[in-house]
């Protein structure tokens, strides 16, 4: 697994292979599996993502009762033509909520990179496929791009809220999704790396402060901002905008910010929103065995 985006970009330039191919090649070598088998496994991930969007149940609530039915509300509002955001972004928002709510309600999802951030990638990918009539193969290639970006983040920093706060989960998911979108738009390896950097920079410092320690509040709605942020970062990168701080240095900054965070805002459910009077009251109610 690569430990720098610069190395992926360099390899892509040197060999002429696309970003996704560089990632796949490296993983197949490391795991000693052939490309076809690897591609088949990634196809299964994409299909599971699609299922996670489609299998939303608008009647479900989570065990705590804090989460559920919100995607259906947003969908109704969208169908009434009231949404301020444009049509594409509206559909991305709805899907992010569908998947993140399904996760909280113990339905099947794809952790990408984590369960708490599982709504980000499917929401932008499924909507992009629908919008641009892309093939499943193109979507699967984009998932390798996302995995490559997530892999570098896991090597240089972290993908865990307990270690790096929410920036490591939603921030990373957003960076992965931004890169995947650029690859689908036909952007270069360099543009992919820049989109990831722009997305991540915008979410640096995000605390992991879940109410009662559950993957519900604010996690579900943060999937929406992770998704929309990926779209804006990808558009900026496609317009030729670069991250003034090189992508790998942005990831390093995420690590150092994570290390500087108090443990109360690193998935312990003791600081931030979790420590508000309402958060504390909810905790007392829902954590009894």
């Amino acid at each position: 697994m690569y430990d720098s985006l610069a190395a992926v970009v360099k390899e892509s330039k040197k060999s002429g292979a696309k970003f996704w191919q560089v990632i796949q090649e490296d993983d197949c070598r490391e795991e000693a599996i052939d490309r076809q088998k690897s591609f088949g496994r990634m196809r299964a991930m994409y299909e599971a993502m699609r299922d996670s969007v489609n299998n939303y149940d608008p009647t479900l609530h989570s065990a705590s009762g804090l989460v559920g039915t919100d995607a259906a509300k947003l969908e109704k509002y969208y169908n009434e033509g009231k949404m301020m955001a444009d049509d594409f972004v509206g559909r991305v928002m709805i899907r992010a909520l569908r998947v993140a709510e399904s996760n909280a309600c113990m339905k099947r999802i794809v952790a990408a990179p984590t369960a708490g951030s599982c709504g980000v990638l499917p929401s932008v990918l499924i909507t992009m496929q629908e919008e641009r009539k892309l093939s499943d193969e193109q979507m699967i290639e984009a998932l390798y791009v996302a995995a490559g970006i997530g892999g570098v983040i896991s090597k240089r920093a972290s993908l865990s809220g307990a270690e790096g706060g929410c920036q490591a989960e939603i921030g990373s998911a957003s960076a992965m999704a931004a890169g995947a979108l650029v690859s689908l738009m036909g952007g270069s390896a360099e543009q992919i790396a820049n989109a990831a950097a722009i997305a991540l920079k915008s979410l640096l410092g995000l605390a992991c402060d879940p109410v009662a320690g559950l993957v519900e509040v604010p996690c579900v709605k943060r999937n929406v901002i992770g998704s929309v942020n990926a779209v804006t970062a990808a558009d900026m990168a496609m317009a030729g905008i670069k991250s003034r701080i090189p992508p790998d240095e942005v990831i390093d900054a995420m690590r150092s910010i994570g290390h500087g965070m108090s443990t109360s805002i690193r998935e312990t459910g003791t600081g931030g929103l979790a420590a508000t009077p309402t958060g504390v009251k909810i905790r007392e109610k829902v954590t009894k065995w």
Binding site: M1, I23, Q24, D27, E30, E31, S38, R41, M42, A44, M45, A48, S62, A63, S64, S102, N103, A104, C105, M106, K107, R108, I109, V110, A111, A112, P113, T114, A115, G116, C118, L121, L143, Y144, A146, A147, G148, G150, G151, S154, K155, L159, S160, A162, E163, M176, A212, G213, L214, V215, E216, T268, G269, V286, T287, K288, W289
Partner: protein, 221 residues
Amino acid sequence: MNVFEIVGPVMVGPSSSHTAGACRIGQVCRKLMSERVVDAKILFYGSFLATGKGHGTDRAIIAGLMGLAVDDQRIPSSFDLAREEGLQYEFGSVDLGENAHPNSVKLILTGESGRKLEIVAASIGGGQIRICEIDGLTANFSGDYPTLIVHNLDQPGHVAEVTSMLQHKAVNIASMQLYRSSRGGSAVMVLECDQEVPEESVDWLRHLEGVEKVTYYSLKG
């Protein structure tokens, strides 16, 4: 780390550590038991105790004990399945000490033949787990590989005996750890392997002088 640990796994939510990891702990315990579990006392510690209820940690661990995969949609209803299959369970709390991982659990299991097994395990993030102790003895393995755990007296030659047996059987070692309580006291080696170790070779180790206990975790069945 591979690409499918970044994009993946496919799992039932809400938490890779508290739900998928808990299910995985149940699965590995079931394999270590190597027979049907009929009674399970499950004692939670740390964050498992604090937030396990809301994360379905209890239902996930029972699902794992019954052999359900982490993406099995029946995980939320595993208590009903357990009742149907005659698995008795109860939950409680335990203090595993401040050195224990925050997501830890102790399982006291009884199999259908009456066999008892006590396991301490931790969910260490992203659905990855560690089996920390088996029957009070250090184990420390992931459950991702066939694993050989040898408890022996701390005296020269035991590592060579085990590793030359593995060489002879063409088994490659993925990771190896050694610990001892004190010089000349009791020692343990934990070997995660790329291939399965033949059963007769595991038995052979059990009969060596100075070897006190051999536990083998197979990925099969």
